[in-house]
């Protein structure tokens, strides 16, 4: 494997509804900041990768509009995933393995606020014949999963409230968080149910933000800064679609992805200092921690998605936040996780270290 590292990360503040800026207005300053921090000119970028989804933007080919805003002239090597931008990060990482270039820029746009009602939109993610016609509430399948976890004795409503309290408290130190504060467990437990057993604060608040990561290989990465967050292992896996077929209390895809990432990295999820998990619901934390084998690891020091979920940028923010803690010396090893689909159907695990592979 070629040594590849995150050398820069920037994000915009996650806003519940940014009505001031269009997509380019949110994204371009973030790209400028991420490149500027490591003194990279846009012409030095060898590969561009991005992630977004039309159904959040409300138009077909939203990606092309963002690409035109970012600009590609002279022509560039470029690709796009219609997914969370964490998967664009995976593509950029694999592209750098080819040795055709040294620097890649990954950007993610997430606009959760444009759809008037996500309950109109998100059922379209389900099997179009059997599940979508049921038009479940956007949080309904998560509620089923959380209930299954509590029923199996794997967590409790109080445990979930404690996760919320810890996350929102951590977010008070994160200037990009959409939501933060020092709440009490009882206060959280007093909030109304959204989808039993999930209450108001158990559900990540959807918002608008962009995230940008600069990746560089080998000597280029070393040249661009004093520290690098080396991507030592990355993998992602898919579970079956139908919630009725899966054991909702486990995430087999996360377990397999973590095992494969550990094989590449030479260290496992249990050996990291911090983990940024794509928890769109509080119950996802114990579920993922179990699948990953996390024990004493600090989880979501940024506050995590419970403090702000800019839809298709959320996973890339996890990678950026995890890398940032290595870049600023607060962590030696870090894990980032991203997910998509109902009840954590598709999961990505990225292991990073301040040290390149021996």
């Amino acid at each position: 494997m070629r040594d590849v590292a995150v050398v820069s990360f920037a994000q915009s503040p996650c806003e519940a509804a940014n009505r001031r800026d269009d997509m380019a207005g949110i994204l371009l300053p973030v790209i400028r900041e991420a490149l500027g921090a490591v003194g990279v000119d846009r012409d030095d970028v060898d590969f561009f990768a991005s992630g977004s989804h039309d159904f959040f933007e409300g138009r077909t080919f939203a990606y092309i509009e963002s690409l035109d805003a970012v600009g590609a002239w002279p022509p560039v090597s470029e690709s796009h995933v219609e997914m969370d931008a964490a998967w664009a990060f995976a593509e950029a990482w694999s592209w750098l393995q080819l040795g055709e270039g040294d620097i890649a820029l990954v950007y993610g746009i997430g606009r959760g606020s444009l759809a008037a009602d996500l309950d109109q939109v998100l059922p379209a993610q389900l099997d179009p014949y059997f599940l979508a016609p049921l038009r479940p509430h956007r949080d309904a399948l998560a509620g089923l999963q959380a209930a299954a976890m509590i029923d199996a004795g794997l967590t409790s409503e109080r445990d979930l409230a404690e996760i919320v309290v810890r996350s929102l408290s951590a977010a008070t130190g994160n200037p990009y968080a959409q939501k933060s504060g020092h709440l009490g467990v009882d206060q959280v437990l007093d909030a109304p149910y959204v989808s039993t057993p999930l209450r108001e604060h158990d559900v990540a608040p959807v918002g608008d933000a962009a995230a940008v990561v600069v990746l560089a290989a080998g000597d280029a990465a070393r040249r661009l800064g004093d520290r690098q967050a080396w991507v030592r292992g990355l993998d992602h896996r898919m579970d079956t679609h139908y919630p009725g077929v899966r054991n909702l209390t486990r995430s087999e895809s996360t377990r397999v992805a973590a095992a494969r990432a550990a094989e590449l990295a030479g260290f496992g999820a249990s050996e990291v200092d911090i983990a940024e998990l794509h928890t769109e619901y509080s119950h996802a934390e114990p579920l993922l921690a179990s699948a990953l084998g996390l024990e004493r690891t600090v989880v979501n020091p940024s506050g995590g998605p419970l403090a702000g979920r800019p839809v298709t940028a959320t996973g890339l923010v996890r990678i950026g936040e995890a890398a940032r803690r290595i870049l600023d010396g607060r962590a030696g090893r870090a894990l980032a996780h991203a997910t998509n689909g109902p009840a954590l159907q598709h999961n990505l695990v990225c292991l990073m270290s301040g040290e390149a592979a021996a």
Binding site: A24, L28, F55, G71, L114, A124
Partner: protein, 185 residues
């Protein structure tokens, strides 16, 4: 052959009420099973708020006042019409808006000759790329007040504005383009 359709790229639409037809597989069924479904309707309705952004807002407000406002990149001098907020080449914030008279030349065009669902204008009509004088980008608009057969690349054209009371924050404030000055005569 069905209606032609390809990668239109320049056409994007807000989502609202696509009528989506579903049909499960029609495996040969045993005699006791019901007849296979051939279609099932599953209509989605999706409503969105679109955000124009500060850059486009300047342009759209200008249209309501009957003015075409362009902006220049301070770094590379590219002039955008309509202007976004940032230069797509330099990532710099664009300079203050300034007015162009909107006249330009047709860089290329097509004649839409057939009716299709959702069509706004009665065919045949001319859709042209217009290189507005002073701008580094092209504007797409209708060209009218001329026989489509007489439209040619390089023709000088000018905007025809809607009446003051009809103007709004939209490109419809320009009704269309038409051959300019001496071209028109």
């Amino acid at each position: 052959m069905r209606e032609p359709a390809s990668e239109p790229s320049v056409l994007r639409e807000p989502a609202s009420e696509p009528s989506v037809l579903r049909e499960p597989a029609s495996e040969p069924s045993a005699p006791t099973l019901p007849e296979p479904l051939t279609t099932m309707a599953s209509p989605f309705r999706m409503d969105y708020t679109y955000v124009a952004g500060t850059g486009r807002s300047v342009f759209l407000r200008g249209l309501a006042e009957g003015r075409m406002l362009a902006r220049r990149c301070p770094a590379c001098a590219q002039v955008y019409l309509p202007p976004p907020e940032f230069c797509s080449r330099c990532l710099s914030r664009l300079d203050e808006p300034f007015e162009l008279d909107g006249r330009g030349v047709i860089s290329t065009f097509c004649v839409v000759s057939f009716p299709f669902p959702g069509q706004v204008h009665e065919p045949p009509y001319v859709v042209a790329h217009i290189q507005v004088e002073g701008s580094g980008t092209r504007l797409m608009h209708l060209v009218r007040e001329v026989d489509p057969a007489d439209v040619r690349i390089g023709m000088e054209v000018e905007p025809v504005w809607a009446g003051e009371d009809e103007r709004e924050n939209s490109l419809t404030s320009i009704r269309h383009y038409r051959p300019a000055g001496d071209e028109y005569a």
